[in-house]
């Protein structure tokens, strides 16, 4: 977003404070710089030359979940999350991004071979006993802060990435639609069971399935202000999926899905627009494109559903997952309070700001538990990581799973 457009939006803010009623971070802290109108006022001051891009500014601008709750409720329709992203970009340009992030966005994520090697190293760390040793010895607590707890939040890596476990072409007998499956990094490296569940459900419908070569969607880079790396990743994905020649592109990750839909604007080419137009969430495919046919096995669970920010507000998907859950034989569905309030994961926000994210997550865990559900279903692996961590941390008897896993249990 250029500065003129930013200023135009910023001028619209009447500081009514409506954002304060919905911001998860303000809700936990009641601190004005963390809420949208505070951030917008700071950005205004920067654009008017009253404020530098200081370290404090960088910190405050990074303290946003990008959950879009304020954007959706703003009476004056200010795209707060886009403004925060724009200022992060400005900060990244001026001050640079951290050495680690730079390496990850500009090298590791751009090269699937190296990424797989890195994932393998993490797997080995977790399997070799080294993780056990580190946890047992409380070595990380010596570093001070929350390092010990954060290490706990790191997901368990898969031994073999999901895409290396499955064929890349799964044709159906009488296919109605040709679908490309964008697996996302978390499903590929951490939750292969989600990927298997997605395939199991899809295979029970008249769909030709392709899993093309693919790269990180780019959202971690964009969220950190590195638009250039994000665009490069987008171009690679667009090219690879164009070759696959499909009708629909699905993803099981709300964040990836919202990012893939952004390619049209981010890259701006006709190919990018064609790509973005094909993207639908896994739940939309089953709800809109084909008629979901559950299997015969009953799943006798009380189930509640958490709306990922990037699905509900990022992609406007609200009813499809709920309809699918209710269509599962045996399931009792119970809506939770504040189902669409952010869980606190927000990419790596929960690692960077562990305590704050845990406060946000605590509220989510309580709302989940208050329904009396045994199972909480959602549509984003990042939310799953955070919710799982919070439920365990608070010893609550609820399991979290991806929508695909619940649906796959019927076959």
């Amino acid at each position: 977003m250029n500065k003129e457009t930013m200023q135009k939006y910023l001028d619209r803010c009447s500081k009514c404070g409506g954002c304060m009623a919905v911001c998860p971070l303000y809700g936990e802290t009641h601190v004005e710089p963390l809420v949208a109108r505070g951030k917008l006022f700071l950005i205004s001051n920067y654009l008017e030359g009253n404020l530098d891009l200081s370290c404090k500014m960088k910190e405050l601008m990074s303290l946003c979940l990008l959950c879009k709750a304020c954007t959706v409720q703003c009476p004056n329709s200010i795209p707060v999350d886009e403004l925060v992203l724009s200022i992060r970009q400005e900060i990244a340009h001026e001050k640079g991004i951290s050495f680690v992030k730079k390496n990850v966005f500009q090298h590791l994520l751009q090269n699937n071979g190296r990424l797989t090697t890195a994932a393998k190293c993490a797997y080995l760390y977790q399997q070799s006993g080294l993780q056990w040793l580190v946890r047992k010895s409380r070595l990380l607590e010596l570093g001070g802060g929350d390092l010990g707890k954060k290490e706990n939040l790191l997901p368990k890596m898969a031994k073999v990435p999901f895409r290396a476990q499955v064929p890349h072409l799964l044709p159906a007998a009488n296919p109605r639609v040709k679908v490309a499956y964008y697996t996302g990094c978390l499903t590929n490296y951490v939750f292969p069971e989600t990927g298997h569940a997605v395939l199991k459900v899809l295979k029970n419908h008249p769909l030709d399935i392709v899993i093309p070569d693919q790269w990180c969607c780019g959202i971690p880079a964009l969220a950190s202000g590195d638009e250039e790396s994000a665009v490069k990743l987008a171009q690679k994905n667009i090219e690879a999926f164009q070759k696959a020649g499909v009708d629909v592109i699905i993803t099981d990750c709300a964040s990836c899905g919202s990012m893939l839909r952004e390619y049209a604007e981010l890259v701006g080419t006709p190919q990018a627009r064609a790509f973005s137009e094909k993207v639908v969430d896994f739940s939309e495919l089953l709800d809109d494109v084909v008629d979901f046919q559950p299997g015969e096995k009953e799943v006798n669970h009380i189930v509640t559903y958490h709306d990922p920010c990037h699905l509900r507000r990022g992609q406007g998907v609200k009813e499809a997952p709920r309809r699918l859950i209710k269509a599962v034989p045996g399931v009792t569905f119970r809506e939770m309070k504040e189902a669409d309030r952010c869980c606190g994961a927000a990419g790596s926000f929960n690692l960077t700001y562990y305590e704050l994210a845990s406060k946000v997550g605590h509220r989510k865990a309580q709302n989940i538990n208050d329904t009396g559900a045994q199972t909480v279903v959602t549509g984003c692996p990042s939310c799953i990581t955070q919710i799982d961590h919070m439920l365990k941390r608070e010893n609550l008897p609820v399991q979290v799973m991806h929508l695909a896993e619940l649906l796959s249990m019927t076959y």
């Binding site: 619209r12 500081k15 404070g17």
Partner: protein, 463 residues
């Protein structure tokens, strides 16, 4: 302005993490919901009456301004640190201490969000009626300090009608309690009424006793469309003559209707001069006959169309028009100067006429909506704060708008308070003698002018 020694003392009082010092953080406490901003020297976030008391004592010792602040959603500049100093952010004092169902009283700290009090009360069938538009964000302390109103005021009254008792840290640093859980109390002067609406100039409110009432069983909503604004005002009178007091009587003028329709496409008539949204509440058995009677009165007064909401969806659709106003009007121009003059109800048509005349003379965009039951109008001037020449015209128009309200037997502010925005016009309504009485109270209670200087009494710092 504040010495490091003083800042360190404040840090000792509340703890380092509850003192904000960087320019970035201070900027975020420089504003409220008016278009103005003033940078404070420090932001302090106390969590107890004792901490507030210590800060006030320190302020008297070192003579720095103290500006109490809740959620900063005021519309008159009440929480703006116009003279710098220390902003005392009370949002950490946010406990509902007690909901006493037997005595129908809620005891709360000032930083509680008003809506949470309503939620808690409604869980046990009770009701806290005042409903300022900001109720999901604003704090009860701010509501009391500004004596906030809301659409339900005509039937249920405003914040002051529900405050039974207060704990206040005085400008001298003493803690006093006035009133409590009793409905009746005439022990000396009515300090509760003095502090309610005192805009943080006479003390910092640290505990509030609120009256609760039983929650009305049900409500029903109508919308009436008029070719003529006078007929809308006449309808309100006719309805009340039938012995019905609606809970809300929201009015939108022609320009507001056009803005909303253009922005939201709700099917509102573009040639209507006024719309009334009328809601009644009470026992379910009464509401059908009451709404029928209201519809009848509206029609006989000249309403060209009356819609009665038969379902929750209908009700939502009717209120959608009112809810869309804020977003719709800023499409005209980005800066919204929201006034809240009140006139006797029957003077509404004349006031609207004069407002439109003023706006056209100064070539300004004006929309008028508000609460037709109590004569509290919200003329909103849409302008662009970057346009200095236009802002001068706005300033002049506002002066005339206040004069018109006073001429018609009305008041400068129905529910927003005087703050800084209306301070230059105060004497229009109070006269010299009335102003002097208020000023004497302020000087007697706050001789060092510690608390919220520059509010209400515009020229305080120069006098």
């Amino acid at each position: 302005m504040l010495s490091n020694a003083v800042i360190n003392e404040i840090k000792q009082i509340v703890g380092v993490e509850y003192v904000l010092t960087t320019k970035e953080e201070l900027l975020c406490y420089a504003y409220d919901s008016t278009p103005n901003a003033f940078l404070p020297d420090l932001v302090v976030r106390p969590c107890s009456t004792a901490e507030v008391q210590k800060i006030i004592k320190l302020a008297n010792e070192h003579l720095f301004p103290v500006v109490p602040r809740g959620a900063g959603t005021g519309l008159s500049g009440g929480s703006l640190p116009v003279a710098g100093g220390v902003v005392v952010d009370l949002t950490r004092m946010n406990k509902i201490l007690e909901i006493d169902a037997e005595n129908l009283v809620a005891v709360v700290e000032p930083g509680v969000i008003t809506y949470s009090i309503q939620e808690e009360a409604e869980k046990i069938g009770l009701f806290y009626p005042p409903d300022p538009a900001s109720l999901k964000t604003s704090t009860i302390g701010g509501n009391v300090a500004e004596c906030a109103g809301g659409p339900r005021a005509f039937k249920y009254g405003v914040t002051r009608d529900y405050v039974l008792g207060l704990e206040v840290v005085t400008p001298a640093g003493d803690v006093i309690s006035t009133g409590g859980k009793t409905v009746k109390s005439v022990t000396g002067y009515d300090l509760i009424r003095l502090y309610t609406g005192s805009e943080g100039t006479l003390g910092i409110i640290t505990k509030i006793y609120l009256r609760l009432i039983p929650k009305p069983e049900s409500k029903k909503t109508l919308m009436a469309v008029y070719n003529n604004l006078k007929d809308a005002a006449q309808s309100v009178t006719s309805i009340i003559r039938q012995g019905i007091i609606p809970v809300t009587l929201e009015m939108m003028d022609d320009r507001t209707i056009q803005c909303v329709e253009k922005h939201k496409h709700l099917g509102l008539p573009l040639d209507a001069e006024a719309i009334l949204i009328i809601e009644v509440d009470g026992p379910r058995v009464l509401l059908d006959s009451q709404t029928a009677e209201i519809a009848e009165q509206c029609r006989s007064c000249g309403a060209r169309d009356v819609k009665v909401a038969e379902s929750e969806d209908d009700r939502d659709r009717i209120w959608a028009a009112r809810r869309a106003v804020s977003a719709a009007v800023v499409q005209i121009k980005p800066t919204k100067i929201s006034e809240d003059v009140s006139v006797p109800r029957m003077a509404i048509p004349e006031m609207v006429k004069r407002l439109k005349e003023i706006a056209s003379r100064y070539q300004l965009e004006l929309v008028i909506f508000g609460h037709a039951g109590d004569g509290n109008l919200h003329p909103n001037i849409l302008c662009n704060k970057q346009d200095k020449e236009e802002m001068q015209r706005v300033e002049k128009a506002i002066g005339e708008l206040f004069q018109a309200a006073v001429d018609l037997g009305g008041t400068l502010s129905g529910e927003h308070g005087i703050g800084t925005m209306k301070a230059p016009y105060l004497k229009l309504e109070t006269g010299e003698a009335g102003y002097a009485v208020m000023k004497n109270i302020k000087q007697a209670l706050d001789p060092n002018n510690i608390l919220n200087p520059g509010k209400i009494f515009w020229s305080d710092s120069n006098e």
